[in-house]
C-alpha cells in the first residue's frame, strides 16, 4: 500500500519537475510547482503510517504555506503580465547580465 502511494507521489513529482523544466508560461510553471508540493504531501501522509502523526502535521503546514505562496505568486504574475503584456518567462528577463 505504502509502495503504491510512494510510487504515485514520485510520478506526480516527476511530472511537476518535467513541467517546470519544459513549460515557459508562468501560470503553468506555477501549477507544476503546486503539483510538486502535493506530491511531497502525498508521500508525507503515506509515510506517517510508519513514523507517526508528524508527517500529517507537516502536510497542514505545507498546505498553509502553499496557499500563501499561491496568493503572492499569482499577484506577481498578474503584475508582470500587466507590465510585459505576456506571461511567457522568456520575455521576462530584466535581470539578465
Amino acid at each position: 500500500m505504502i509502495g503504491a502511494s510512494l510510487f504515485v507521489s514520485a510520478v506526480l513529482f516527476a511530472i511537476g519537475v518535467g513541467g517546470v523544466l519544459v513549460r515557459r508560461n508562468a501560470i503553468m510553471l506555477f501549477m507544476c510547482v503546486e503539483l510538486m508540493l502535493n506530491a511531497v504531501n502525498l508521500s508525507f501522509v503515506a509515510l506517517s503510517r510508519l513514523h507517526g502523526v508528524t508527517g500529517q502535521v507537516v502536510v497542514i503546514f505545507v498546505m498553509t504555506v502553499a496557499a500563501a505562496e499561491a496568493a503572492v505568486g499569482l499577484a506577481i504574475i498578474i503584475s508582470a503580465f500587466r507590465h510585459f503584456k505576456s506571461a511567457d518567462l522568456a520575455d521576462i528577463r530584466l535581470l539578465g547580465g
Partner: protein
C-alpha cells in the same frame, strides 16, 4: 680654548641669519601682495613702468638692510680674526647635530677661518652694493618684494656655503645657491625662454652635484669624516698620488666645474643671463660661480697629493679660458659677452688653483668680483637707460641689450662710461688696476710651476706636467689677449662712435639715478685699489703679499707640496713676465680699437656668416647642439622608447596594472553570462545540480 672665544667671532651665526630673516619678511610681503591683488596673470614690466610697489620703502629696508647689516657683522668677525695670532687655526662653532647616524656624525657648524671670512666679506660686501643697485634697477618691477626675498635667500645660502665647517654643510649652501640661482634666472617666468634658462642651469648643475656627492661618499667611506679640520688631519692616511685621492679630487672638481661653469658644463651660464642684470652681477659673476674655485682651494690639502687631479683642473681651466674667450669675440648681446668673459676668467682661476697657486686663484677671484660686478652693473645701467629710452618713445621691439643698437652712449652716460673703461682696463690687465696684479700673479705662478716643481714632474695621461703647465701658460697669454680684444670691442661698440639707437630713443637715454651710480663708483674704487691686497715683491708699492700671508694657514701646506722644487724666478725673468703680460693686454686693446670700427657694425638683421670660422663662432662652436645631439637626444630617446614604452608601458603597466584589470574583467564577463535572466535556464541549472548532488550521495554510500 680658542683665542677667538668671547670675541665678535661668536656672532658668526648672525651672518646667514640676517639675510634669511630678510628672505622670510620679504617673501611674506610678496605672498600677501599676491593674495590681496588676486593676481591671476603676472603684470609685465611695461604695464607697471614708473609705478612703484606699495611697500617700496619697507622692502628696501628689509632687503638691503639685512645684507648691509650682515656686511657689518662680517667686518666685526674679520677684525676679531685679524687680531688673533697666525697659528690660531680655524674657529669652529657647532650649533647642533644634523646627522647623528651610527658612525656618521655631521654637525651644523660654521668655521671662521681666514679663507671663509675673505669669502664672507666679498659675498656680503659686493652683495650689499648689488642690493643697493637693484633698488634703482628693479624699482618699476611688479615682483619687487619677490626679487629681494630671492636675493636675500641667495646671500643666506652663499654664506652657508662659504662658512660651512664640513663638506656636508657646504653642500647645503651649494644646493641652496643653485635653487636661488634657478629662481632668479627665471625671475621673469612669464616668458618661456627665461623659465627654460633657469631649468637648464639647474639640470646642468645637477651633473656637477652628482660628482660632489660621490666625492663626499668616498671621503666618508675612507676617512670616516666630512669635517674640514679632520680631513686635513687625516689626509696623510691616503696614499699620495693614489687612485683613491685622485678619484675624490676629480669628483670634487666635477662638482666645482658644474657650479663654476667649466667645460663642458659651462653651457648654462650664458643662458643664465635671462635673469635681471644685478642677478647676473651677483650670482653669475661675483659670488656663486666662484664657489667651485673656493671648493678646490678649500680642499687644497687633498689636491696637493693628487697631482693628476690638479693637472686635470689646469687642463680644463685652460681649455675653458680660451674657448669661452673666443666665443666672446663674436657675441652681440652685451650680457652674453660678459657671461663668456666670466666663464673665461673662471677658467683662469682654475688654472691657478690647479697649479697649486691657490692664493693667486683666490686673489683673482676677489679682484674679478670687483671688476666683473662693475662691468655687469655698468651694463645693467646701460640696459636700464636704453629700456627707459625705448619706453619713452613707445618702442617695444628694439633689444636694449644688443650692441649693434648702441653706440655713442659716452656722451649720454659719462660716469658709467668712465667706470666701465676702468673695469675694462682692469680685466684686460693694465697696470695698476686690480686685474693686472691678479692676472699677472696667475701667469707668473703657472710659469714658475712649469719650471720644475713637484707638479711639473707628474704626468697627465702620459704628458709631462711641465708641458701641461707650459702650454697652460701660453694659452692663458692668448686668453689675456682675447680678453682685452673682446672687452675693448664691447666698449667701442657700446659707448663710442655715432649712436645707432633706433628712432628718437637716444634722446631719452640718460645717466642712471644715484642709487645705481653709487655702487658703481664704490666698485670702481675697489677695482682701482684691489691690487694692493696682494702686491708682488717686484712692485713694492705698499705692503707686499698681504693676501698670501693672510691665507698661508689655509692653503699654504697644499701650495708648498705642489710647488716643491720649483726654482725661484730671477728678477729679470719676473720683469720680463710682467712686460709680456702688459704688452699682450695693450696689444689686445690696440687690435680691437683698430678692428672694431663702430661705423662698420652690421645691422641686427644682417644674415650670420654661413661658412668658415665666423660661422663656427656665431654658433658658439655648436656645443649646445652637440650636447643636444650626443647626450640629450639619446637620453630622451632611450627614456621614451626603452624606459617609457618598453619598461613602463610594456612591463610594469602590462603586468601589474592592465593585467589584473583584464583578469577581473574576464571573470566578471563570465559571471554576466551566467546571469541570463531566463528563469528556465536557472531551473535547469538547479535541477541538474540537485541531480548531481543526489547522484554523488548515492555513490558515496
Amino acid at each position: 680654548m680658542h683665542p677667538l672665544t668671547g670675541t665678535a667671532a661668536d656672532l658668526v651665526w648672525l651672518l646667514p641669519l640676517l639675510p634669511f630673516l630678510g628672505f622670510v619678511a620679504n617673501g611674506w610681503l610678496s605672498l600677501r601682495g599676491a593674495v590681496r591683488a588676486r593676481v591671476t596673470a603676472h603684470p609685465t614690466r611695461l604695464e607697471t613702468e614708473g609705478s612703484r610697489h606699495p611697500q617700496f620703502t619697507l622692502v628696501n629696508v628689509i632687503g638691503v638692510g639685512s645684507v648691509v647689516a650682515a656686511f657689518g657683522v662680517a667686518i666685526a668677525v674679520f677684525a676679531a680674526l685679524a687680531g688673533a695670532p697666525d697659528a690660531a687655526g680655524p674657529y669652529v662653532q657647532t650649533y647642533g647635530s644634523w646627522l647623528p647616524s651610527g658612525d656618521l656624525r655631521v654637525d651644523w657648524a660654521f668655521q671662521v677661518d681666514r679663507l671663509s671670512m675673505v669669502m664672507a666679506l666679498i659675498v656680503t660686501g659686493v652683495g650689499a652694493l648689488i642690493h643697493v643697485f637693484s633698488v634703482g634697477y628693479m624699482a618699476d618691477d611688479p615682483g619687487y618684494p619677490r626679487y629681494f626675498s630671492y636675493l636675500n635667500l641667495f646671500v643666506f645660502f652663499m654664506l652657508t656655503l662659504v662658512l660651512g665647517a664640513s663638506y656636508a654643510v657646504i653642500f647645503v649652501g651649494w644646493e641652496g645657491v643653485g635653487l636661488a640661482s634657478y629662481l632668479l634666472i627665471g625671475f621673469w617666468f612669464s616668458e618661456t625662454r627665461n623659465a627654460d634658462a633657469g631649468k637648464k642651469a639647474f639640470i646642468v648643475n645637477r651633473v656637477g652635484d652628482f660628482g660632489f656627492l660621490i666625492a663626499m661618499f668616498l671621503l666618508w667611506a675612507n676617512l670616516g669624516t666630512l669635517d674640514f679640520r679632520e680631513v686635513a688631519q687625516r689626509v696623510p692616511e691616503l696614499a699620495a698620488g693614489g687612485g683613491l685621492v685622485t678619484a675624490i679630487c676629480l669628483f670634487l672638481f666635477l662638482g666645482a666645474a658644474g657650479k663654476s661653469a667649466q667645460m663642458p658644463l659651462y653651457i648654462w651660464l650664458p643662458d643664465a643671463m635671462a635673469g635681471p642684470t644685478p642677478v647676473s652681477a651677483l650670482i653669475h659673476a661675483a659670488t656663486m660661480v666662484t664657489g667651485g674655485v673656493y671648493l678646490v682651494a678649500r680642499s687644497a690639502d687633498l689636491f696637493a697629493i693628487a697631482p693628476v687631479a690638479s693637472l686635470t683642473v689646469v687642463v680644463v681651466g685652460a681649455v675653458t679660458a680660451i674657448f669661452a674667450a673666443v666665443i666672446g669675440l663674436k657675441q652681440w648681446d652685451i650680457k652674453k659677452v660678459l657671461a663668456y668673459s666670466t666663464v673665461s676668467q673662471l677658467g683662469m682661476m682654475f688654472v691657478a688653483v690647479g697649479s697649486g697657486a691657490y692664493v693667486a686663484g683666490l686673489f683673482h677671484l676677489v679682484t674679478h668680483a670687483f671688476f666683473k660686478a662693475l662691468l655687469f652693473l655698468g651694463a645693467g645701467a646701460v640696459i636700464h637707460a636704453l629700456h627707459h629710452g625705448y619706453h619713452a618713445v613707445h618702442d617695444e621691439t628694439s633689444d636694449a641689450q644688443d650692441l649693434r643698437l648702441m653706440g655713442g652712449l659716452r656722451r649720454r652716460m659719462p660716469v658709467t662710461f668712465a667706470l666701465m673703461w676702468i673695469a675694462t682696463l682692469a680685466i684686460a690687465g693694465v697696470p695698476p688696476l686690480a686685474g693686472f696684479f691678479s692676472k699677472d700673479e696667475i701667469l707668473a705662478s703657472v710659469f714658475r710651476q712649469a719650471g720644475g716643481s713637484a707638479l711639473a714632474q707628474a704626468t697627465w695621461l702620459g704628458i709631462p706636467g711641465s708641458v701641461v703647465l707650459g702650454t697652460a701658460y701660453a694659452i692663458l697669454l692668448v686668453t689675456a689677449l682675447l680678453t682685452a680684444v673682446y672687452m675693448t670691442r664691447l666698449m667701442r661698440y657700446a659707448f663710442h662712435g655715432p649712436s645707432r639707437v633706433p628712432g628718437d630713443a637716444a634722446a631719452h637715454v640718460a645717466e642712471s639715478p644715484w642709487v645705481m651710480r653709487g655702487p658703481l663708483v664704490v666698485l670702481g674704487a675697489l677695482t682701482v685699489a684691489g691690487g694692493w691686497l696682494n702686491l708682488p715683491a717686484l712692485l713694492p708699492l705698499g705692503p707686499v703679499g698681504t693676501l698670501e700671508h693672510w691665507l698661508a694657514p689655509v692653503t699654504g701646506r697644499g701650495a708648498a707640496v705642489l710647488a716643491a722644487g720649483a726654482p725661484a724666478l730671477g728678477h729679470g725673468t719676473e720683469q720680463a713676465l710682467v712686460g709680456v703680460a702688459v704688452a699682450v693686454a695693450l696689444a689686445g686693446i690696440a687690435i680691437a680699437w683698430v678692428v672694431c670700427r663702430p661705423d662698420a657694425v652690421p645691422a641686427p638683421d644682417a644674415p650670420a656668416p654661413t661658412s668658415g670660422f665666423g660661422w663656427l663662432l656665431s654658433n658658439k662652436f655648436f656645443v649646445d647642439e652637440a650636447i643636444e645631439a650626443l647626450i640629450v637626444a639619446p637620453l630622451v630617446k632611450v627614456s621614451r622608447l626603452v624606459l617609457w614604452r618598453g619598461i613602463d608601458l610594456g612591463v610594469l603597466d602590462a603586468l601589474f596594472v592592465r593585467g589584473p584589470g583584464a583578469l577581473t574583467r574576464g571573470i566578471g564577463w563570465a559571471g554576466t553570462r551566467l546571469q541570463s535572466g531566463l528563469v528556465g535556464t536557472y531551473v535547469w541549472v538547479i535541477a541538474i545540480a540537485v541531480l548531481a548532488v543526489l547522484g554523488l550521495m548515492l555513490l558515496m554510500k
